[in-house]
Structures are given as C-alpha cells and as structure tokens.
C-alpha cells in the first residue's frame, strides 16, 4: 500500500510541477499577480509530495518489500539498516528520485527566500524550475519507475546492493553531489528569467550569487567525498581516474567556478554580461549532460548505472529541449551591447577573464577527451580510448597557469591596477617560494641524489608556496599587521582566501603524493617483512572472519618505524554471500603527512598471499584542500551583504577590492 501511495504522490507532484511551470509564466506576461504567486505554493506542495514519495520508497527498503522490483534488485534482508536506507539512491531509479527530491527542495528554498525579489522575476524563476521538475518527474514515471512491482510472485529474498556501494561513502557522496548538480538549476533559472525579461543589469547577478556559492560548495564537497571514497573503497590507492563519470561531475564544477568568478565582475562592474549568462546556462547544462552520460550507457565507466537506450533517448530529448531552448533564447535575446564601463591593464576584470579562460579551457578539454572516443566511433574512425595520460598532459599545465594568476587575486583592483605595483608585490613571495621550492625537496628524501631529487615536487612546491605567500602577504597588507583589523575583513574576502589556500593544499597533496608515492606488490608468507618508505611492514597472517553479509579473509600486518610498532593494519578480501562478488577492502593508516595503504591480493597457495603496500605522502591534503575550498565558498555565501538589505556603499573600493565583493 505504501508503495502505491509513493507512486501516486509522485504523480501528484508531476501535476503540481506542471502548474508551477505554466501558470506563473503566463501570469508574468499578462500581469496577473495571483497567477504569478501560484508558483510559490506549487513549489512547496511539490516538495511535500516528492518527499512523501521518497519516504514511501525508503519504507519499502526498510520493510524488505521485495515485491518492488527496485528493492528486490538492490537490497536483501541481511543488509545492515543504514545501507538499506542509502540503497534507496544506490541505483538508477532511486537516485533519480533523489535528484527530483533535491530539485523540489531547491525550488522550495527559492520560493521561501524570494521575498525581496520582484514578483515577476521570482515567478519566472520558479516556472523554469517547475519545467525542469516536469521533465524529471516524467522521466521517472515513464522510463524508470522505482515503484514497479514484481507480481504475482515476488521473490523471497532480494539480490544485493553492489558491495562497492555498501559504505559510508555512498550514504553521503551522492546526496552532496546532487545538491551541487541540481543547485545550479537555480542560477540557470535566474539566467533564463533575465533573458526572458531582457534585463541584464547587475540585479540578476546579485540575486543568483548566493545560490551559485551554495550549490558550488555542495558540488565541491561532493566531488572531494567521491574521490576519497574511490581511494579507500576501490582498493588500489588511486583517487582520481579521469573516468567519464568523474569527468561528468568535474565539468560542471569547473564551469561553476568560472561562473562564480565572472558573475562577480558582472555584478560589480556590469561587464561580461553575455558571458556570465552563458556560463550560468552552461553549468547546469553540463550537469544534465553528466546525467545523460552516466545513465545512457553511451560510454564505458566503472561507475555507470545499468544502461537502457530508451532512457538515453528520453534524457537526450530532455537535454535538447532544456539546453537547446535556453541557448536559442540566449542567441535571440542575449545582450549584444557592450557595457559602458571600461577597464584596462591588470585590472581585476582582466584577471577574472584570464581565470575564466583557464577554467573553461580545462572544462572544454575534459569534454573533448571524454566524448572523443564516441565521436571517433560515430565517424567510423575506429575505437580509441582517452585516459589519464591525455587529461594530465593538459590539465596540469592549465592549472599551473591558473595558480600563477591566482597569486595576484587579492591585489588586483576593479577598473585598473598598475602592472608595476602588482609586480612589486610579487617580489618577496616569488623569492621565498623559489628558494623554498628548491630546498625543501632535499629534506624529503634521506640520501639526496640526482635520481631522487624530484622535479615534480619542485614545481608543486613552487606553485603552492607562491599562492600561499601571496595570499598571506595580501592579508598582511589588508590588516596592516594588526590582528584587530582582521575582523573588519568581509566574509567574501575570507572566503576567497580560504578557497585559494584550499586549492594550494589540494595541489600540494596531488603533487607530492605523485612525486613520492612508493608502492610494491609482494608475495608474502606469514612472518615475512619488507621495508618501504622508511616503514617496516610485517605480514603476520590471515584469518577468516564472518561479517553481517559477507565472509572475509582478514590479513594482519604490523607496521613499525624505527623499531616501534605504529599500527596494525587488517586489509580484507571479502566475499559477499548473496551475489558472490569479491571485494578488496584496503586498510589505511592515515595521517596528514602520509598514508600507509595495504591491500590484500590473491592467495598464492601454501599460506602465501599477494599483498600491495603503499606509502602515500601528503595524499590526505587532496581532500583537506577540497574541504577548504568548500569552506571558502561557504564563507563567501554567508557574507553579510547577502543578508542585509542596505549595502555599504563603495565597499568594493575601500576594502581594497575583493574578488567576491
């Protein structure tokens, strides 16, 4: 009964979304205020019904209702409760329902926070969001209904949730990621509303900025979590594979980052108006494209959902309508007049533009690399693969260029910054980072020789120290060396600072873990020892253990440093009873400056096992950096100016020019 209730709730939500899409838009053209207000209540109502539907599906999982096909395929009685709940979004249908839930959640947030907006604008924004909801609700009901029953004879026991997904990572990663993906529908809707209304003043930019920040924070954290999850769960110590599905989440992030920066210039200075509009459309379009790539089976990926061409066609049509429609609107109504305001030299406008060039080029490169195998196949040029070597070759230099520019971020001013003044400010940081970057790698290895002096480490440290010292110099100058004046700096300034340093920390992790990664695959008998990266590993043995829904071999490895026992690691090889899948569960001892990573391979007979030992210096900085970047976005979003109605006049000039101001 609950299941039918969920199904009906979803249908009602679809009806409400239809009203939300049509009535306010019609009202906005004919000037019926009552019609325009309809969208607000519809958004809330839609949220209530999608939430009800979601709750019903969750209940079906908790009650092991295997008459529901989706539950039967993705859960079983032995599954621990927390995984029964997270299994709701463990596969295609449920994750789509989660997407719909989050979309209606964002719409409701817009409806509730739109008090200060002109009614005509909020009506149009909600109408656009409603139209997107219609698409997803139809997609759910027509091609991917999670409430389909297996009748008349339901199975007694379910299949199982993919063991890879039976993990804390799955509980948090997809919701975070979707919050980000879907959150970009709000600036998208603002951009469409601006295009429909033909008003491109800085107002739409100001209103959509906090939404962009929040969505971006979620996406940042979602991607970091995903990378961390892949690192400890896939079992081989990789943290980014340039897999199509990862790229699908990374492209909106890059476009969203570019949007965050360019909209600052649009809001403050009225420049780059059509570019910012285009980025707002592009960011959400890339989220939709990601959905298409992941769910259509068009590309091979380790994480792809079970594919179905029918779904592929549906999303493609949806994508064509939403993206094609908005780009057509952009082409017909986008602003062609250049803004009156001017800027020159190394002004902040110029730097933001260069930042956008790097970010959007990276995004375009990833898009081309991801889709190229498909293009080659379609044009009958053969099957090719584009993998990590390709992406790294381009991405690393592009990001390096970005980081060099990023050092100047705080110092630039709107309209005009004197190039010479900027260079002067760079003198001390460049000396400090140059010296440190060449000296520090000498201390990272015991016996220095040409063969182990890592150039990768030098370049990494150079860029990281450059960004950090420049940021700190800027902070020093702004606070005039006084702690008390730190409080006077705005939230957006702190946000910028923290996010930029976060990027540096992330780059530190990427560069140093690549440069000093130590790894060895060994055949070990109980009692065997090995030494790697200054640590002694001793293999004690393997025992059999029984988990809730798996049987595992659990290895026991003692790690010593300088004769002292640091940690016992117990990597597992799990055999899930229901599906027979074998999973490598690595064990990790993580500290800020290094991870010890041990994974159990195959048994080699006579008690011998294949074991992979890895020492990964600073790898944790990658995700710490990701969290800092997210924190920066949060600080910027919480800036008082978004909450206060009256703004400090001329704040952008007096506080020394802040990117997020």
């Amino acid at each position: 009964m609950t299941v039918e209730l969920g199904h009906i709730a979803l249908i009602i939500a679809l009806c409400l979304a239809c009203i939300q899409a049509v009535v306010p838009m019609v009202g906005s053209f004919s000037g019926y205020t009552h019609w325009m207000r309809v969208g607000h209540s519809m958004a809330v109502g839609q949220f209530v019904f999608v939430a009800l539907s979601f709750a019903c599906l969750t209940a079906a999982f908790i009650q092991d209702d295997f008459s529901v096909a989706y539950v039967a395929n993705n859960s079983n009685t032995l599954l621990p409760l927390q995984f029964k709940i997270s299994a709701v979004w463990g596969a295609h249908e449920g994750s789509l329902l989660l997407w719909a839930l989050i979309l209606s959640g964002w719409s409701t947030a817009v409806a509730l926070c739109s008090g200060k907006l002109p009614l005509i604008l909020s009506a149009r924004v909600l109408s656009v969001l409603g139209a997107i909801s219609v698409g997803f609700a139809l997609f759910l009901l027509l091609t991917s209904n999670p409430f389909d029953r297996i009748l008349p004879i339901p199975p007694l026991e379910g299949g199982d949730l993919n063991p890879l997904l039976q993990d804390f990572g799955l509980i948090v990663h997809p919701p975070m990621l979707y919050m980000g993906y879907v959150g970009f529908s709000v600036p998208f809707a603002f951009a469409i509303a601006a295009l429909i209304g033909g008003q491109f003043d800085s107002a739409w930019a100001r209103w959509s900025r906090p939404w962009i920040n929040i969505a971006w924070v979620f996406l940042t954290i979602g991607i970091s979590l995903g990378s961390w999850w892949a690192y400890y769960e896939l079992g081989w110590g990789g943290w980014w594979f340039w897999d199509p599905v990862e790229n699908a989440s990374f492209m909106p992030w890059l476009a969203g980052t570019a949007l965050m920066h360019s909209i600052a210039a649009t809001e403050k200075r009225g420049v780059f108006r059509s570019w910012t509009l285009l980025l707002a459309i592009l960011t959400f379009s890339l989220s939709l494209l990601g959905t298409f790539l992941v769910r259509s089976g068009i590309l091979t990926s380790v994480h792809a959902f079970a594919s179905d061409p029918e779904r592929g066609i549906f999303i493609l049509i949806f994508l064509g309508i939403v993206v094609g429609g908005s780009l057509l609107l952009f082409a017909l109504r986008g602003p062609t007049m250049r803004s009156v305001t001017t800027y020159s030299g190394w002004s902040r406008e110029t730097m933001l533009l260069i930042n956008n060039v790097f970010l959007v080029s990276s995004m375009a490169m990833i898009l081309i690399g991801t889709l190229y195998p498909l293009l080659a196949d379609v044009l009958d040029m053969g099957k090719i693969s584009v993998g990590p070597p390709y992406f790294n070759i381009f991405f690393v230099p592009l990001m390096s260029g970005l980081m060099i520019c990023l050092g100047f971020a705080g110092f630039t001013r709107w309209k005009n910054t004197e190039g010479r003044a900027l260079l002067h400010k760079g003198v001390i940081p460049s000396i400090v980072s140059l010296v440190m970057a060449f000296v520090l790698p000498m201390f990272m290895v015991d016996k220095l020789s040409w063969s182990n002096y890592s150039l990768t480490a030098v370049v990494t440290l150079l860029l990281v120290l450059w960004v950090v010292t420049m940021s700190l110099e800027d902070l020093w100058l702004k606070s005039r060396g006084k702690l008390s004046s730190l409080r006077g700096l705005s939230g957006s300034y702190w946000g910028m600072l923290v996010a930029h340093i976060g990027l540096a920390v992330c780059a530190l992790g990427v560069g140093l873990s690549t440069a000093y990664d130590a790894q060895t695959d060994l055949r070990m008998l109980p009692g065997d020892k090995t030494e790697l990266g200054g640590y002694q590993f001793q293999f004690v043995g393997v025992e059999r253990v029984q988990g809730p829904n798996f049987i595992a071999y659990r290895g026991n490895v003692e790690v010593k440093s300088g004769g002292e026992l640091i940690v016992r690691l117990s990597p597992e090889k799990r055999n899930y009873t229901s599906g027979g899948q074998v999973m490598t569960e690595a064990d990790i001892d993580g500290q800020l400056h290094r991870d010890l990573y041990v994974s159990l391979g195959e048994p080699l007979g006579n008690q011998a096992w294949a074991i992979r030992f890895q020492v990964k210096p600073f790898v944790r900085c990658i995700w710490l950096g990701g969290l800092l970047i997210g924190l920066g976005g949060l600080l910027a979003a919480l800036d008082k100016r978004y909450r206060r109605r009256r703004l400090r006049k001329g704040a952008d000039e007096s506080s020394g020019g802040l990117v997020f101001e």
Partner: protein
Amino acid sequence: MRLRWSMGLAVALFTSVLFGSENLVEFSDESLRSRYQTLITELRCPKCQNQNLADSNAPISKDLREEIQRMLEQKMSDREIKYHLTSRYSEFILYRPDVNKTTYLLWGSPFAILLIGLLAALRLNRRNKIDVGSLDKTVIDQESRIAELLKSGEDDK
C-alpha cells in the same frame, strides 16, 4: 635534519628492502620495473569497464601483464610492445592515444581553445583600453558617474 620527521619518508623511497618476501613480478634487471609500471598503468584492460591493466583483476589483464613482462625481458622497446599489443587488441587499449589523423582534433583542440580564449581576452581588454583613450575624458566621467548613481540607487532599493 629536523625536517626529516615531518616528511615521514626518511629511507630511500624508490627501492624497497625485502626480508624473505618476494616481488610478485620478478625482473632480471630492476630497471625494467618502472617501465613495466608505466606500461600497465597506461594500457587499458580490453574486457573491463574502463580500468587499466594494473588495477584490473580480470584474467585477461593478468595474461597481458605477463605478456608485457615477457616482452620487456626480451629487450623490446615500449614502442614495440605497444605495437605488438595494438596489432592484436587495436588502438582501444591505449589510454594515451597516438597522434595520427584520427586524433589530430583530440590533441590539437585544447591548444586551439586556450589560444582563442587568451586572444579573445586580450582583444576585449585592448578594446576597452582604446575606448578609454578615444572618448572625451569628461564624457567617460559623466557616464561612469551615471552608472554609479544608477547602481547605488538600485542597491538602496
């Protein structure tokens, strides 16, 4: 040497000392090992869903790893090894596609996009500069003052 502890990597990073344990893959010459590692990370498992030979547990990956090891021992160059494999499994298994007429667009477009982007940014910048120079100073001042006024008025709304 006080920094030593902080790096936590005191002893030689690139070799591992073995006591009783054996390397899973043995080479007559240890210098082959790094080439082996690079090859198996840059070659794709033909059967799997987007995994390289190093990370894949599929039997075919195991066979191909052994094949690569054998070819390395026969003193074949990386190029010859890749050719040997692509003539059987096609270009599909190369994660770093060769530069040829199929892939000119792939390898060329990132450069082109960056170049176009930078040129466009430069052009926009210069155009704005010329505007400043070519217009009468007072006109600009008036215009920007109007813009400021409009803006502050709107801020106060």
